[in-house]
């Protein structure tokens, strides 16, 4: 659906997006994560043509926005930063403006309002809306013209935990039912983890990872703990095979996986040690995220 190839962008002399490249497959929910100020919003603005890249190419449905602006944008829905709403107008009037611009049929505003659960507030001025209601209206606006591509910039910001849960369900249903592609950003990867199929991780303007969630989880370096008889001696047996140390009477292996666990159990039991317990820490996406977004990391 979207392909970025060697895209760079600077505000004045500050490079904000550096040689970025990733691919958002059709019908995927692509989570775009990175710390605050990493360049998420800027990248989304570049994709939507709100900013022009200094170099590189951005393709949407294999087309360049410059040459196919009307065609691409008429099938794209976006919510960038805070929802841009006219506070002195009602929800219905805000939607009516978009309805005219996108030449959408008259019944659609009510449809998206009930889809987002704010139909009752149709004739209420947006000024009187809570933050959560504004987010919902922002999403209703983005969905009004039944886009094939939905771009949401930190839509979870400002939602309460119940709202986040509800939003995830909403997003899943939407993608299952209408088969659209969603590009969604957040500075907290774990909030997206449960809904996304693909992820891109940006830090300091650089794409540090992009691929499927399985690939991302595969990157997780989870620790192994062995509880064995005579741990000091066992440690010297293991240390040529794995990066390990003694931790409170247990042996800790820093970077482990299932294969390594099996190998070490063989090794230890063959040497006559008793193994009381072998534990592999659950892969933790948040720690991978931290690892990938550390400033020192340059290439992954």
């Amino acid at each position: 659906m979207i392909t970025l190839d060697h895209v760079s962008f600077s505000y004045g002399k500050t490079t904000v997006v550096r040689d970025a490249g990733f691919h958002v497959p059709d019908r995927s929910i692509f989570g775009f994560a990175g710390p605050n100020g990493a360049g998420k919003t800027t990248t989304l603005k570049l994709i939507l043509g709100l900013l022009k890249p200094d170099s590189g190419e951005i393709l949407i449905r294999n087309r360049n926005l410059a040459g196919h602006r009307k065609e691409i944008l008429s099938k794209t829905g976006a919510l960038i930063e805070t929802p841009s709403l006219y506070p002195h107008l009602t929800a219905g009037e805000n939607l009516e403006i978009a309805r005219r611009v996108y030449r959408v049929e008259k019944f659609r505003p009510d449809q998206v309002l009930s889809q987002t659960g704010i139909l009752a507030a149709k004739n209420k001025k947006v000024r009187e809306f809570s933050l959560g209601m504004k987010q919902r209206l922002g999403i209703a606006l983005a969905l009004l013209h039944s886009p094939e591509l939905l771009i949401l910039d930190e839509p979870i910001n400002g939602l309460d935990p119940g709202g986040i849960l509800e939003f995830r369900e909403f997003l899943k249903n939407l993608v299952n039912r209408e088969g659209i592609t969603v590009l969604i950003s957040s500075h907290i990867l774990s909030e997206l983890e449960l809904v996304i199929s693909h992820a891109g991780i940006i830090s300091d303007g650089e794409i540090r990872f992009h691929g499927t969630m399985e690939e991302l989880r595969g990157k997780s370096l989870s620790r192994l703990f062995f509880d064995v008889s005579d741990p000091e001696k066992a440690l010297s047996l293991i240390s040529p095979v794995a990066d390990c140390r003694l931790d409170g009477g247990r042996i800790e292996i820093r970077e482990g996986n299932r294969d390594l666990t099996a190998r070490l159990i063989h090794l230890l039991s063959a040497a006559g040690y008793d193994i009381y317990q072998a534990v592999q820490e659950q892969p933790n996406l948040e720690s991978v995220f931290h690892e990938l977004t550390r400033k020192e990391v340059r290439h992954v």
């Binding site: 043509g49 602006r69 006219y86 107008l89 611009v101 606006l141």
Partner: protein, 248 residues
């Protein structure tokens, strides 16, 4: 409907429930009220050979073009752009499936529509004010025959010569997100106009063009009209072109 017409209609939706729309009525009404009160308080008549309608409207057009029009324009145009500046609306309009220049053109057209509306109301209110004056004043009798041609011509010239100031206000309101800059430009522009009259080329000062387009002598009225109208149109075209290529 073409994209541009749709965008203009959207601009008009945004004007709902807004002070800007009321200014269209209030600004001309205020000038007429002022002039009517002045004439109602005149002790004597005004001589019977003078064309009272033209006299009556002259004062109105002077107050309008020197004070009310620049203030009105500064405020109304600023409000049209404030809708986007204060709401992040440019992020939405920037992803509309339309040519980039149309969004800006629609804003300028809606500003022009409001100016035209209030100019038309000024003329309608002039007639109403004249009748009221004639009816209530003991001596002043407004002639039965209204010089429509001359009144329309003068209103039209002022309207056309106003385009340059309208264009300036559009550009300033677009480039500065703070409301105080375009309002300050309107006040400053009007204030400087009071001094510019004494300078040799002062009649070409943008804020004096509307007035000079009807009162200028020795062909200065023609020059003022042309400068205001053509200058305004050209500036609006340049702005639309420059700002839409800068933004996308």
């Amino acid at each position: 409907m073409s994209d541009l017409l749709i965008l203009i209609s959207c601009e008009l939706i945004k004007l709902r429930r807004n002070l800007a729309l009321w200014m269209v009525v209030i600004a001309p009404a205020f000038v007429i009220l002022l002039q009517t009160l002045i004439w109602l308080n005149l002790k004597e008549g005004l001589g019977f050979d003078a064309d009272l309608w033209l006299m009556y409207s002259s004062n109105i057009l002077s107050i309008w073009s020197l004070f009310m029009f620049p203030m009105f324009t500064a405020l109304v145009v600023a409000l049209i752009y404030q809708y986007e500046h204060t709401t992040g609306g440019w992020l939405r309009t920037g992803t509309y499936p339309v040519a980039g220049w149309m969004v800006l053109a629609a804003k300028q057209f809606s500003a022009l529509i409001l100016l035209t509306l209030s100019s038309a109301l000024l003329l309608v209110f002039t007639i109403a004010g004249g009748w009221i004056t004639g009816y209530f004043h003991p001596v002043i009798e407004m002639p039965e025959v209204i010089p429509w041609g001359e009144l329309l011509l003068r209103s039209g010239k002022i309207w056309a010569a106003s385009l340059l100031v309208l264009a300036i206000q559009n550009w300033v309101s677009l480039r500065w997100t703070s409301l105080s800059v375009p309002i300050g430009t309107g006040i400053g522009g009007t204030f400087v106009a009071l001094f510019a009259t004494s300078w040799k080329y002062g009649y070409l000062y943008p804020w004096l063009l509307p007035l000079n387009s009807i009162y200028g002598t020795d062909g200065k009225d023609q020059t003022a009209l042309l400068t205001g109208a053509a200058g305004g149109l050209i500036l609006m075209l340049i702005m639309t072109w420059r700002e839409s290529t800068r933004r996308s």
